[in-house]
C-alpha cells in the first residue's frame, strides 16, 4: 500500500471472501455428506476423513496465529506449539474429568493415570475442570497468561529477532521436559487420552465429530476475521511498522513493546483455541506437542502458504498436512522427511513469499491496480 493511499482497506478483501466462502461450503458440506448420505454412496465422506479434515482446520487456525505475529509483527516464535498444547491440555483435562467411573480403574474421583501412580487426591490445578465453561476459560487463560508473562519480560527488555526465536524455543523445550514428568500431574509420557464424551455427547459418534468439525471451521473463519480486523486497524498499522522498523516506531513515540505484547497474547489464545478443538478430534494430547520440532513445522506451513497474508497461512497448513498424510501413509513414508526438508529449503530459496504471496505478485504484474489485495509482504530488508 502506498503512503498516499488513505482509504482504509476493506475488512475482508477478495481473497478473504473466497477463503471464507470455501470454508463455509466445506463447513456445511462435509458434515452433511457424512451424516446425510449412506456409507455406500459415492459422495459419502467417512467419519475418519471428517476428523482428519477437522484436524487440518485446527492446524490452519494455529498457522493463522503464527502468521499474525510473524507476518505482521516480525516475531518468529518457535514456541507457538506450546500455546497450542496448553489449550489442548486444558480441553483434555475437561475430557478426562468426564470419563468418571468408566476408566480402567473405575475410580470416581481420579483419572486412571493418577490411580496408577498411587495418588490419593486430585491436585489443586485439576479443580474446576469438571465444568465446561471453566475449561473454556482455561483454554484461553493458560496460553494467554504464559504469553503475557513471557512476552512482557521479553519485549520489555527488547529481545528481538533470532534471540527471541531461540528463547521461545527454550520455553517450549522446558515445557516439554516438564510435561514429560509424571509428578506434574498431567499424565506424563502418555498424556491424556481415552476420552469418552464431551458435554454429554459421545466423542466417537458421527454427530459429535461433525459438530466438532463445524466448530473448527467456524473458529477458523472467526479467527481470520479477527486477524483481518486487527491488522487493518490503526493498531495493526503500528504492528506492521514495528515489523519493518521497530526502533523508528519507538522513536516516533509508540510503546512498541505493548503493541507486540497484545499481538503475542492474542496469537497465543488463538493457538490455544486451535489446540482445544484439536484434542477432542484426535483423541489424545501428550507432551510431544511441546517438542520444538513441531513448532518449527508450523512456521513452514506459514512460509509455504505465504507469510503476512493470513489466507496463505491457512492454505499452507492444509496443503502441507495433506501432503504429510499422503506421504506418511504410503510406501513413500521413509521419504517424507526428505520431502519436508526439501520443502523448507525450496520455499525459502524459490518462493520467499509463499504460494499466496507469489500469486499476488503474478496478478499484480498482469493487472497494475492492486485494489483490495490485502498487503503483500514488502521486500525483505535488514531492520533499521
Amino acid at each position: 500500500m502506498s503512503p498516499s493511499d488513505t482509504r482504509p482497506p476493506t475488512l475482508i478483501p477478495t481473497n478473504g471472501l473466497v477463503f471464507l466462502g470455501v470454508l463455509a461450503a466445506v463447513a456445511v458440506l462435509v458434515p452433511l455428506l457424512n451424516l446425510a448420505t449412506s456409507p455406500d454412496a459415492a459422495v459419502h465422506v467417512p467419519t475418519y476423513v471428517v476428523s482428519l479434515l477437522g484436524k487440518y482446520l485446527t492446524y490452519a487456525l494455529l498457522a493463522l496465529s503464527v502468521d499474525l505475529i510473524w507476518g505482521y509483527v516480525g516475531i518468529l516464535s518457535l514456541g507457538q506449539g506450546a500455546f497450542f498444547a496448553l489449550g489442548g491440555y486444558a480441553m483434555g483435562m475437561y475430557l478426562m474429568r468426564q470419563i468418571g467411573t468408566r476408566g480402567v480403574y473405575g475410580d470416581p474421583m481420579l483419572p486412571d493415570f493418577m490411580v496408577f501412580l498411587n495418588w490419593k487426591e486430585l491436585p489443586w490445578f485439576w479443580y474446576g475442570f469438571d465444568l465446561f465453561p471453566f475449561a473454556l476459560v482455561m483454554v484461553l487463560l493458560a496460553p494467554g497468561l504464559l504469553a503475557l508473562v513471557f512476552g512482557w519480560f521479553a519485549f520489555r527488555s527488547r529481545v528481538t529477532g533470532v534471540y527471541l526465536s531461540i528463547i521461545t524455543q527454550a520455553m517450549t523445550f522446558a515445557l516439554l521436559l516438564a510435561f514429560f514428568r509424571n509428578d506434574m500431574g498431567f499424565g506424563g509420557n502418555n498424556g491424556l487420552t481415552d476420552f469418552k464424551d464431551i458435554l454429554g455427547f459421545n466423542i466417537q459418534s458421527d454427530g459429535t465429530r461433525a459438530v466438532l468439525f463445524f466448530l473448527s471451521a467456524l473458529a477458523l473463519g472467526l479467527g481470520y476475521v479477527l486477524c483481518r480486523f486487527l491488522v487493518r486497524s490503526h493498531f495493526g498499522k503500528v504492528l506492521i511498522a514495528i515489523r519493518d522498523a521497530e526502533t523508528r516506531v519507538r522513536f516516533t513515540g509508540y510503546r512498541a513493546e505493548n503493541y507486540k505484547l497484545v499481538a503475542f497474547v492474542v496469537s497465543a489464545m488463538l493457538a490455544g483455541i486451535a489446540g482445544a478443538l484439536y484434542v477432542p478430534q484426535v483423541g489424545i494430547i501428550n507432551p510431544s506437542e511441546f517438542s520444538p520440532a513441531n513448532s518449527i513445522e508450523i512456521i513452514v506451513w506459514v512460509a509455504v502458504g505465504g507469510r503476512g497474508t493470513l489466507v496463505g497461512a491457512a492454505l499452507g497448513a492444509v496443503l502441507v498436512n495433506y501432503a504429510k498424510t499422503y506421504f506418511t501413509s504410503g510406501f513413500l513414508a521413509p521419504y517424507w522427511l526428505f520431502m519436508l526438508g526439501g520443502l523448507f529449503v525450496a520455499v525459502t530459496l524459490f518462493l520467499p513469499k509463499g504460494i499466496v504471496g507469489t500469486f499476488y505478485d503474478w496478478r499484480e504484474k498482469r493487472r497494475p491496480s492492486p485494489d483490495a489485495l490485502g498487503e503483500p509482504l514488502p521486500e525483505p530488508k535488514p531492520a533499521e
Partner: protein, 539 residues
Amino acid sequence: MISSARLRRLSCALLLALYGLCGALFSQPALAQDISAPLAQLATDNYADTEAALGALALSGSPAAAGIVAALADGKLVFSAAPRQVFLRTETGLVDPLTLQPVADPPAVKPVRVNNRVRRAIEAANGTLSLVSPDPAKRLEAATAVARSRDTAALPALDLALSKEADPKVKTALTLARASIVMGQPGVSDAERIAAIGLVGAEGNQDALAILQGVPADSSPAVKQAAADAIAGIERSLAMWSMAQNVWYGLSLGSVLLLAAIGLAITFGVMGVINMAHGEMVMLGAYTTFVVQDAIRTYNPGLFDWSLIIAIPLAFLFTGLIGVIIERTVIRFLYGRALETLLATWGISLILQQAIRTIFGPTNREVGAPSWMSGSFDIGQLAITSGRLWIIVFAILVFVALLATLRMTRIGLEMRAVTQNRRMAASMGIRTNWVDAMTFGLGSGIAGIAGVALSQIDNVSPNLGQSYIIDSFLVVVFGGVGNLWGTLVGAMSLGIANKLLEPYAGAVLGKIALLVIVILFIQKRPRGLFALKGRSIEA
C-alpha cells in the same frame, strides 16, 4: 568369653608384634619370621597346640606361612613321629615347609589332624595372613573386612600389618580398622578412644563416617563429644568433596556443551547464520567415527586404539565439505535474512537426518572406546574417568586451536575482516564469497570434530544432533554472540550450574530450572554475557 587358647594366641601375638616393631627398628626381619617354634607345635599333632601354632604362624610374617596354613586346611600337612617334624605333601613327594626342597629320605608320616576348632583357627589365620599378603588389593580387602567386623582378636594382626605396610592406601585402611576396633573394645581408656576417633576423623571418608557412627552407646560423654565433632567434620569434608565432584561433572558437561556449541559460535556468532543443521554436523562427525572404526575392525584391528585420532581429521574434512556445499548452494542466497536461514537450515537438518537413517538405519550404532580412554582414577575422593578427562582436554585443545586460527592465520584475519565490515573487506581485495564458504566450512568442521568426541559418551543415532541443538544455541546466546570466550564461559557455567542444581532438583527439574534461568538472563542482558559493544549490535 575368651578361651585360654585365644589368650595364649593374644600374648603370643603381642610378643610377636613387639618383635615386628624391633624388626622394623633394627632391620632384622629374620627375627619376626622365625617359625620354628610353631612348626614344632604343629608336629605334636595336638589340637590346642595346632591352634596356637596357627595363631603364631599367621602373625609371623613368614612367606612360608600361607603355604603351611593352606596345606593344613587341605590335609597335606604331615608330620613324622620319630623326629617330631612337619612336611608338606606335594605331588612329587614330601617337601620341607620352609625351603620347599624335597626331603631326601622321606620318613613315615601322618597328616596333622584337624577338628572344627582348628578349622576356625585356620580361617582366622587366613584372614590375618591376607592382611600381610603380598597383593595390596588383597590387603586392602582384608583391612576393610576387619574394620567392618570389629573383631578384637584381629588387633595384633593389624598391628603387625601396620608396622610393615608401605602402600599408603592400605595403611589408611589398616589405621581405620585398628581405630574402629579400639573404639569399641572394652577396657580401653577414654584418651585412647579419643585418639582413635581423631585418627578415624582425619580420614574423612564414607567408611570413617560409618565407623564413628558405631561408637558404643555406653561411652563417656567426652568420647561421644569427640565422635560427634569428628562426624560433623567428616560430613563437612564429604559435602565439600561431593561439591567438588559435582563441579567436576559440571566441567565435563560444560566441555561437551563447549564442543557442541563452539562450531555454532563461528557460524552463528561470527557469521550471524542461524544454522539449525549444526546438530546434524555433530551427528555426521559421530558417524564418521563409526565408519572409521568399522573399517579398522575389518581391515586392521591393531589400529583400533588410533581410531579416534584417525577419525578427527576425516570428520573435520567431511563435515567441513558438507558445510561448504550447504553454504554455496543454500545459505549464500539468504544472507541478511536470518529467519529464512533458520528455516532452510532446519530443512537441511531433516534431510541429513533422514539420509543417515536411510543409510545406517534408525538404531544406535556402536562406537567403541580405545583402551586409553577407558579406566578411571581417584584424586582424594574424586572419581575421575579417563574418558571424561580426555573430552575436557580435547574441548580445550579445540578451543585454543580455533582461537589461534582466528587470531593468527591469514584466513582468520580475513574472516574477522569480513564479519566486521564486509564491503570494506571486499574493497581491500578479500574474496568475501570464498571467506564465507571457508568460515561456514570451519564451523561445520569443528562440529564434526565435536561429533568424534561425543560419539564416546552419547548414542550414535540419527537423532544425536537434535539433543544438542537447543543447548548449543543457549550456550552461544548466553555467552554472547560473536565472542569465543563468551562461548567458553557460557558452556562451563551452564554445565556446572546444571550439575550443581541436579542434586537438589533432580535431572529434569534442574534442566528446566536452567532453561528458565537462561531465559530470564537473556531478558536482563539481551546480548549475552560478553556482548559486542558499539554500533554494530543494533544492525
